[in-house]
């Protein structure tokens, strides 16, 4: 069965510290993975996609097929990064399965 697991419900770091939000997936096919973000009082929006291999707002995520992981990383957290982050798996190019989300809180 396809599944996305985000083991941390809440992650709290100090401003300037590195941050890593964990995501593990279960899928027998070729995965297409995304990170979505929801800032306070805003809509859920795409942050980045593994295929594009780009850095958005200083965040990067590398797909590790051996560990079936797609962790989101940023070397120096900023207060404006505080938000809810969802890892998502696209199956067959259609259906998207979301993890339960991790709330990131960046302290001043």
């Amino acid at each position: 069965a396809q599944r996305v697991t985000q083991p941390e419900k809440l992650l709290s770091v100090f401003k300037g510290a590195p941050v890593e939000l964990k995501c593990n997936y279960s899928y027998s096919g070729s995965p297409e993975l995304f990170w979505y973000v929801q800032y306070s009082r805003q809509r859920l929006q795409l942050l980045l996609r593994h295929i594009s291999r780009e850095s958005i707002k200083g965040f990067t995520a590398d797909l590790n097929k051996g560990e079936t992981s797609f962790h989101l990383k940023k070397p120096f957290a900023q207060e404006e990064d505080s938000a809810m982050y969802y890892c998502a798996l696209s199956v067959g190019g259609f259906k998207t399965i979301f993890g339960a989300g991790t709330r990131l809180f960046v302290k001043a």
Binding site: Q6, F98, G101
Partner: protein, 117 residues
């Protein structure tokens, strides 16, 4: 910038009543999704449309939920009768197409928060 619109934003209803939600997609977006998000969880797909056709409704509780997308534009999700466990955020998302280029990104609406009492 075009956005997905949803209404109402909030809905309080008594159990056993009927309730309906409306979604207006970004113009030209052929794929439309309805998700349910229970507090503390991620969005869960209820139904997916490609134009006016249902592509996936395997997770839609069909005894009480129905969805339609007449003319392949706006869409309505209905619950009848509502149950206490239906209290959740209902999200609509749309996507430009199913293949090619930047069509993979889903654009989400603000959601409708349903409370069943």
């Amino acid at each position: 910038e075009a956005e997905v619109a949803q209404s109402p934003r909030y809905k309080i209803t008594e159990k056993s009543q009927a309730v309906a939600f409306w979604c207006d997609p970004i113009s030209g977006h052929a794929t439309l999704y309805w998700y349910r998000q229970i507090l503390g969880q991620g969005p869960e797909l209820l139904v997916q449309f490609q134009d006016e056709s249902v592509v996936d409704d395997s997770q839609l509780p069909k005894d009480r939920f129905s969805a339609e997308r007449l003319k392949g534009v706006d869409s309505t999700l209905k619950i009848q009768p509502a149950e206490l466990g239906d209290s959740a955020m209902y999200l609509c998302a749309t996507r430009r197409s199913t293949s090619g280029g930047s069509s993979y990104e889903q654009y989400f609406g603000p959601g409708t928060r349903l409370t069943v009492t």
